[in-house]
């Protein structure tokens, strides 16, 4: 155990049971979990979505979301029985002694108020300090969270501040009353890797400076390894195991934990390099943009049959715009797209039905990409009917074959609605719908980034199998370099609308790199608890060396 166990206990949760309501029945979400946290200690809660991490974290504040209830157990916060006291007293603790940092700061800041007004609300309403003092304090904490222009940034509205900065402003806001405990609920999940590092290190420093205890909720093992003293693994509302970070990483005991650890090791076999042949898709000197600004600046790359080209970069680097140009949704200002060596009309409206059929897309959010009112039969059947003219029995046969291809039993699933599927299954339907058109080329836009790692791995393996079965060419848009390692043959690195580096994957992950590729690669968290510390020291040393 780490040294923090010598400190007094701050929070004890015993045999916590939480139920969620669906219709008229209550079903368990948390099934008897214990948690003990000492002052100044950070415990990591990890597990897949639906494991009950957030529910348990919120329960530490004596809070449940609408439709949930704490049905059993005891929560003791610094000698106060949180479940026995009236709601008014629990409210007096929230924000003041126990604070919360939400996953999406962009959605969790009130769009109607300036950042500093939202910062000051807690201290002023809880009677901790007057407004003027709170404002001065906000500037100080913004500075400590290394926000640019700490004196002024508070006077902006949330929409005027970037995601990474908002996440830091939210951490500063959580610190405003100097709480004893902060719940961090996936605070960096929505951020790019390069931004994530800044937020992680700022959070880690400020928690250490004020000796604040924290519950750090995430599904990313490498992130939790940097942040937590101890790790607790949850699976469907039950605890799988708990131990201090180093021993958990070195020797996970339970099979489930081991399976989580193993996900990151998936990689497809290396393909021989393509030297000849006409590429399926060739992007040539494309410049494109919206309004007056160019989002893409003279980019070009080729994609061959049976190959996966990963396009990586931060949000705003032009990855999705590239996809829009290839599909004809955004005609380029200059340059052209060749398909099997033939130029494609720039606008999709001028492309023939067969040209449209050859290039299909799979989207990031399967939830919003599938029409919720249509059954799978129609969702998958429509492209098969439209592009291939299948009807009646032949169409039903085709739908069944497609469902079998994506490993869903046709009998069981053919008449289901999207709402009756899990996240991974929905994404499989997205794949089947793309396959139904019998394309040569598929664009996968962040297809695994909304999924848990185990589910994501299943999708990657499926895509891999389908590629060799049907000779497909993939363009794989992602910001996750672990996914690139797993599935790509070639990599295109984009920054600010330009291609900064491209080549076979093996070369890309070997030095020497372009400086931006280097930054991206080094920013991917590793499963080593000392990784962040070492990385920050390295970067500081390099800056010192340059300066």
């Amino acid at each position: 155990m780490s040294e923090s166990s010598a400190k007094p206990v701050l929070l004890t949760m015993q045999d916590i049971h939480i139920d969620g309501r669906s219709g008229d029945t209550w079903s368990p979400i948390i099934k008897g979990v214990d948690l003990t946290l000492h002052r100044g200690e950070v415990i990591g809660l990890i597990g897949e979505s639906g494991a009950g991490k957030s529910t348990l974290g919120l329960a530490a504040m004596g809070f449940t979301r609408d439709g949930c209830r704490i049905s059993g157990g005891m929560i003791d916060f610094d000698g106060i029985d949180l479940l026995a006291i009236p709601e008014r007293e629990r409210r007096a603790l929230r924000g003041k002694r126990i604070a919360y940092v939400a996953q999406s700061a962009a959605a969790s800041f009130n769009p109607a108020h300036k950042l500093i007004d939202q910062y000051c609300e807690g201290p002023v309403q809880h009677g901790v300090m007057p407004r003027e003092k709170a404002e001065a304090d906000a500037v100080e904490l913004y500075r400590r969270m290394r926000l640019p222009n700490p004196e002024e940034i508070g006077f902006r509205y949330p929409h005027q501040v970037s995601g990474g900065q908002l996440q830091r402003a939210m951490t500063a806001m959580a610190m405003s009353c100097r709480p004893d405990l902060i719940i961090f609920d996936e605070p960096t999940t929505a951020l790019d890797v390069t931004t994530q590092i800044e937020v992680l290190s700022a959070i880690r420093d400020i928690v250490a400076q004020f000796d604040t205890a924290a519950i750090y909720i995430t599904h990313d093992l490498a992130v939790v390894a940097q942040m937590a003293d101890r790790i607790k693994v949850l699976l469907r509302g039950d605890e799988v195991e708990e131990s201090d970070t180093r021993s958990m990483l070195a020797a996970p005991k339970e099979d489930y934990t081991k399976s989580l650890w193993a996900v990151r090791s998936y990689a497809r076999p290396v393909q021989p390099p393509v030297t000849t042949g006409v590429p399926v898709v060739s992007v040539q000197n494309v410049t494109a943009g919206y309004g007056a600004a160019d989002v893409l600046k003279n980019i070009g790359f080729d994609i061959h049959a049976r190959r996966t080209v990963a396009v990586v970069g931060e949000s705003g680097s032009g990855k999705s715009t590239t996809a829009r140009v290839i599909t004809g949704l955004l005609p380029p200002r200059q340059g052209r797209i060749l398909f099997d060596g033939q130029p494609l009309p720039p606008d999709y409206r001028q492309r023939s039905r067969d040209q449209l059929r050859q290039a299909q897309m799979i989207y990031q959010m399967a939830d919003t990409a599938l029409n919720p009112k249509l059954r799978l039969r129609e969702l998958i059947g429509r492209p098969a009917e439209m592009y291939l003219g299948l009807k009646g029995k032949a169409l039903t046969e085709r739908i069944r074959d497609l469902l079998a291809l994506i490993e869903l039993e046709p009998e069981k699933y053919i008449d289901r609605l999207p709402s009756e599927l899990s996240g991974g299954q929905k994404q499989r339907i997205g794949i089947a719908r793309a396959l139904a058109a019998e394309p040569k080329f598929i664009i996968c836009d962040e297809v695994t980034s909304a999924l848990d790692q185990l589910v994501a791995e299943g999708i990657l393996k499926l895509l891999d199998r389908l590629q060799s079965e049907f000779n497909l060419a993939y363009m794989f848009i992602t910001h996750d370099l672990a996914t690139v390692k797993a599935i790509a043959d070639e990599v295109v690195v984009m920054q600010n609308g330009r291609v900064v580096e491209q080549g076979p994957k093996e070369e890309m992950f070997q030095p020497p790199h372009d400086p931006y590729t280097e930054l991206l690669l080094s920013s991917v968290p590793e499963m080593d608890p000392d990784w962040l510390t070492r990385l920050l020291a390295d970067r500081a040393a390099r800056r010192a060396g340059q300066g």
């Binding site: 007096a92 929230r94 919360y100």
Partner: protein, 317 residues
């Protein structure tokens, strides 16, 4: 801020354009009415010479577009011509009626807007409670009855007992407090009719936001339910509320004929209905134009206010 001014200017221009189109429609519609105006007024026994002379006097012998331009230019200067029925200038005729209508509308708005906003906010705060259900049921009941029915019930309850007068007569000597007293029943009737709509929209707009992450964040900061509603939900719910309020205010100006009739209140609505019956078209045109202007102006105000309530639109990146 310059963005806001140019937005307002654009909206104003659009509003003027709308009014112009409406004036064309109003003028065109009265043109299309069958029968000859002069003949109608003078009766079947009039000789063709008298009719022709009268047509010249009314300007009816001029082509339609000339008459339209004359009418519009006059209207822009506040001169709507003279009434056919009593030969008085329409502007004079309308002036007192318009101020009566505005008085009643403002009176009813002053009662109903605060009341419905307060009820809506409280219903959202105590949603699904007895209060919420009772307020909803009452509001729905009052909106479901026709206005004249509500008016007669009020007269039956409040006027028969002698508390308030059932006739809302107004004359130049009426003092302000006297006017408030005399028009209490019509104002209350209108309040009962419009409150439900605004209250339910306020409640729905607020409750719609309660599942947002920033509302959960406010609750997790330990803020009281009242503060969560007033400080965190309400500012984001203003746009739909303002729109509904504006629609109801427009109704209070343009749609209260029945209530005016029941309470014998000399407003624009009554004037309009009377003039239609008497085929006094210049008056009908003038009143219709005023009603249209009220609608356009109120909707424009609502648009501008909703924009002002959204910091994303005023404070650009």
């Amino acid at each position: 801020m310059s963005d806001i001014w140019s937005m307002i200017a654009r909206r104003l221009l659009l509003g003027l354009l709308t009014l112009f189109v409406i004036s064309l429609i109003i003028f065109g519609a009265t043109e299309l009415l069958p029968g000859d105006l002069a003949q109608n007024i003078l009766g079947q026994s009039a000789t063709p010479e008298t009719v022709a002379a009268f047509r010249r006097e009314l300007g009816l012998d001029l082509p339609a577009h000339t008459r339209y331009v004359n009418w519009l230019l006059g209207a822009l200067q506040g001169d709507f011509g003279t009434s056919l029925a009593n030969k008085r200038p329409i502007a004079d005729l309308i002036a007192t009626r318009l101020s009566n209508t505005l008085f009643l509308a403002v009176y009813a708005a002053a009662l109903s807007v605060p009341l419905s906003l307060m009820l809506g906010i409280l219903a959202a705060l105590w949603r699904n409670s007895i209060f919420d259900r009772a307020a909803n049921a009452l509001a729905l009941t009052s909106i479901s009855f026709p206005e004249f029915f509500v008016a007669y019930i009020l007269i039956f309850v409040l006027a028969q007992s002698g508390l308030f007068p059932s006739m809302a007569r107004m004359d130049p000597t009426t003092t302000f407090s006297e006017a408030l007293y005399r028009t209490f029943l019509p104002a209350l009737t209108l309040t009962l009719v419009v409150t439900a709509h605004m209250m339910r929209m306020t409640r729905a707009a607020i409750i719609n936001l309660l599942a947002s992450p920033y509302i959960e964040m406010a609750r997790l900061k330990g803020m009281s339910p009242a503060r969560v509603i007033l400080k965190h939900a309400l500012p984001n719910a203003l746009a739909p509320i303002v729109t509904v309020v504006a629609l109801n205010l427009a109704y209070l100006i343009t749609g209260v004929v029945v209530v005016e009739v029941v309470f014998v209140y000399p407003g624009l609505g009554q004037l309009m209905v009377d003039s239609v019956a008497k085929r006094d078209f210049p008056v009908v045109q003038a009143v219709a134009l005023i009603f249209a202007a009220a609608y356009v102006l109120l909707n424009l105000t609502a648009d501008v206010l909703s924009t002002l309530s959204n910091p994303r639109l005023i404070h650009r990146k």
